[in-house]
């Protein structure tokens, strides 16, 4: 047994596809471990749910940041300026009687060839009864001053400059994120240089103050870009790996081992046991797996583990049982089984110790090649909107992209990134499996 495996391992090195497949699988395993170590499970769920406005400061539908290496016209990244990070930006002057000015000036350098995607100012204020007041002004590198808005601040105030129709009107009907940055000589290009946002605040209470954050949303973000809810796709790409590997491996190993047991039992006992198992197999063959999973997802639970159990349950009696059966029929007729029976081994012992080990080598390529189909099954379910409700997965990324017309709107990265990883996982296991098949099935090796 051991010899078979070490022999197989030695042979594997002779197949380039086996080596490539193993490298891909190792890479994915490494990625899965990295994901689980750097982003703990609960943190991944929190991030993907988008709780506590964690994604407030990232742009919507931004392409990956490294796209700039290929662009001739550099697209902006997100610029964040905040009084909490930089207390110097905040200037307070006491005017007496509890009234004070609370000004802030944000200065940033803009050297991109494209316009930002959005502009927003987040304000937080501390007060008990009287709400502070803020007037916002925009100063361009060539010294023009554009008034933005005046607002009375609540405890948490979001001022979306991009959605302020008064600013749009003031700019002559141009979207603020374009108009505020446009070069007056060439309105299709942004003016490069130092921009300023000046906020003149007034507080009316002792100890009251204003904190502000300016976010100039870019068009590119992070390693993988963002989706329609501003979430960083990297989180789902990373966490999709352990989920996909776990789903694929558990489903493949679980169903093939149980199928093998059933096949061995059917052959060993024969008679009505065999008859029954074959009839159940015939029924399961015409049960449409996907519609049944859909019903389970709709009526019971969408949890990935429930789905996994159903997949294994239906997989046990699937088509594999017939090929195991024919293999075990040959095993049962070999001499050493008679010898085992002669020394008085029980049925259970014969099945587990003598029959199953004999065909395990043929089982291994089988389940390795099955892994991709289960990885894709998870993606299929997610694509139908039946993905796990909380876990970020590759399939759910594809589903989001599909429902928000990513291909139609040109957000190709949104589809290509999860698709690339799915393909990688599929190819890795399939390549290894095909090679193992040739190693363990000598009849195939010759051809």
């Amino acid at each position: 047994m051991k010899a078979t495996f070490s022999n197989a391992f030695r042979q594997m090195r002779r197949y380039p596809s086996a080596v490539a497949g193993s490298i891909i699988i190792l890479f994915l395993v490494f990625m899965a471990i990295y994901a689980m170590v750097t982003i703990p499970y609960s943190e991944a769920l929190r991030l993907w749910r988008g709780a506590d406005n964690v994604w407030m400061q990232s742009p919507r539908n931004a392409r990956p940041a490294w796209f700039n290496y290929f662009y001739k016209e550099k697209q902006p990244l997100t610029i964040v300026q905040s009084t909490t990070d930089d207390p110097d930006a905040k200037i307070m002057v006491d005017l007496g009687g509890g009234v004070a000015t609370s000004d802030f000036i944000f200065e940033f350098d803009y050297q991109y060839d494209g316009f930002p995607s959005e502009l927003a100012v987040f304000l937080t204020a501390e007060f008990t009864a009287a709400r502070p007041n803020v007037v916002l002004n925009w100063i361009t590198p060539d010294g023009r001053e554009i008034p933005l808005g005046e607002l009375t601040v609540r405890a948490n105030e979001t001022y979306s400059v991009s959605q302020d129709s008064r600013v749009t009107r003031r700019l002559g009907g141009v979207q603020p994120e374009r108009g505020l940055f446009a070069d007056p000589a060439n309105p299709d290009k942004p003016l490069k240089g130092t921009y300023q946002l000046v906020g003149e605040g007034l507080v009316f209470e002792e100890g009251s103050s204003i904190d502000a954050t300016l976010v100039v949303y870019g068009k590119l973000h992070g390693l993988a870009g963002t989706d329609h809810r501003r979430r960083d796709i990297t989180v789902a790409l990373l966490w999709g790996t352990p989920v996909a590997l776990a789903f694929g491996l558990v489903a493949a190993v679980g169903s093939s081992i149980m199928t093998m047991f059933l096949g061995a039992t059917a052959v060993w006992f024969g008679g009505w046991v065999d008859w029954l198992i074959r009839r159940v197999n015939e029924i399961v063959m015409i049960l449409p797996l996907l519609p049944i999973l859909i019903m389970v997802g709709l009526f019971y639970s969408r949890s990935i583990w429930v789905m996994l159990s159903v997949v294994i349950l239906l997989g046990i009696f699937g088509s594999g049982i017939l090929s195991y059966r024919s293999m075990f029929i040959q095993v049962k007729q070999s001499g050493y089984i008679d010898a085992a029976r002669a020394y008085g081994a029980g049925s259970g012992r014969i099945i587990i110790r003598y029959m199953i080990p004999k065909i395990i080598p043929t089982l291994i390529p089988g389940f390795v090649t099955q892994v991709p189909s289960f990885v894709f099954l998870e993606a299929t379910l997610a694509l139908l909107g039946l993905g796990d409700p909380v876990l970020p997965t590759w399939g759910k990324l594809l589903n989001d992209a599909q429902t928000h017309g990513a291909l139609f709107n040109g957000y190709f990265y949104w589809v290509l990134e999860p698709a690339f990883l799915l393909m990688l996982a599929g190819l890795g296991f399939a390549m290894l499996g095909f090679a193992l098949d040739r190693i363990f099935n000598p009849r195939l090796r010759e051809v």
């Binding site: 596809s17 015409i286 519609p291 019903m295 991709p372 139908l384 594809l398």
Partner: protein
């Protein structure tokens, strides 16, 4: 599936006469048909049990009835003359009548057999939300409308797939070790991705980037006037889905067929035939192709079964107005009757596939004809 019903075949007295072998094939087909009927009955019943699990669907329907009656009564002017108490009693009474009318007060076990009979006879009730294009609420009509496109797409794809992978397999086995052979063997693992996956790439390349072919759908909107142009338009919309189906399975199909051909052409009787001086074509047809056919049919059957259930996502990706797309719409709208009905239809389609292939099997497998034991 590939098991010939041993008992049935063996019980017949071996005979070489033609009509007797026809007889045996018929008998085999009949037995397989009956077995499948029993199988379908159990399968559909299981589907009903899953769909009704925990009485959840019943509760949903009762809730719906209550809501409908409450709405009716709220809209009814007459009701304003009644006291609150009277109205509530009247409402409860009406709900009770509706429930009795629909038979929801009877135990589930009895109803489940009624559902089973309805499912088997394709008496599929009416949809909750979805309508057919002609405006009908009958699930049967909705499904009937969608069955055509699904069959058109899948039959085209599957037939092309079968013949192209068979032909490619033969070519490869003749040129064993050539560049083409090595290429296909290398490409075989790409078939681990399903057809919808390649479909997405095809849409990206040929519709989004190049703009040569439509993103999806079955026909231009508005549809062309003449039949000819309409057929052309449908064909144009079929190019991408059919090529995705082909690309997703043709390499592994050709690979496995090639391997079978190679294994079978190393048999002693092939050597014997060569020694007899038969031509290569003759050997291929009579000694290689013929004995591999049952295995090929079995593996093809498994591919088709995979494709049937894969059709749900496949049609969704291509916006193809078939049963798969319908299933997806029903999921989004939570239209229970339609979901259960599509499950039943898929069970039927799978069974019909299995049955048809069984007949082909009986025709090509000499063991069935001459009555030798299957295994």
């Amino acid at each position: 599936m590939q098991n010939v019903d041993t008992a049935q075949v063996e019980s017949a007295v071996p005979s070489r006469r033609r009509f007797s072998s026809l007889n045996r094939v018929l008998k085999y087909v009949l037995v397989r048909g009956l077995t499948l009927l029993v199988t379908i009955t159990i399968g559909v019943y299981l589907a009903i049990l899953i769909a009704n699990g925990g009485g959840y669907v019943d509760q949903m329907r009762i809730g719906q009835i209550k809501e409908e009656i409450a709405m009716q009564m709220a809209a009814d002017q007459e009701m304003t003359f009644l006291t609150m108490q009277e109205r509530r009693e009247l409402e409860a009474a009406r709900v009770e009548v509706q429930i009795q009318q629909l038979g929801l007060d009877r135990p589930f076990m009895i109803r489940s057999f009624e559902y089973l009979w309805n499912g088997l006879t394709l008496n599929l009730g009416s949809a909750d939300y979805l309508l057919s294009d002609s405006g009908s609420r009958q699930v049967r009509n909705i499904l009937g409308e969608r069955l055509g496109p699904t069959l058109l797409l899948m039959a085209t794809g599957q037939l092309l797939l079968f013949f192209s992978s068979l032909a490619l397999g033969l070519i490869l086995s003749r040129r064993y070790g050539s560049f083409l052979d090595k290429l296909i063997v290398t490409l075989a693992p790409t078939s681990s991705a399903p057809a919808w996956f390649y479909g997405m790439f095809f849409i990206l390349i040929f519709a989004a980037v190049l703009g040569w072919l439509p993103f999806g759908g079955m026909i231009d909107a508005p549809p062309p006037q003449t039949t000819w142009l309409r057929a052309l338009s449908i064909m144009k919309h079929m190019i991408l889905p059919v090529s995705a189906l082909l690309l997703a399975s043709v390499f592994s199909g050709a690979y496995s067929r090639r391997t079978f051909f190679l294994i079978y052409s190393s048999e002693d009787y092939v050597e014997m035939a060569k020694a007899k001086g038969l031509s290569d074509r003759e050997i291929e047809r009579r000694y290689v192709l013929r004995p591999t056919l049952p295995t090929i049919i079995t593996s093809f059957m498994l591919t088709i079964i995979g494709l049937w259930t894969g059709a749900i996502v496949f049609e969704t990706v291509f916006n193809w107005p078939g049963i798969g797309r319908l299933t997806q719409q029903a999921i989004n709208l939570f239209d229970t009757p339609v979901i259960v009905a599509t499950t039943v239809i898929y069970a039927y389609l799978l069974a019909v596939t299995v049955f048809l292939l069984d007949i082909i099997y009986a025709l090509v497998d000499p063991r069935v004809k001459i009555g030798g034991g299957g295994h």
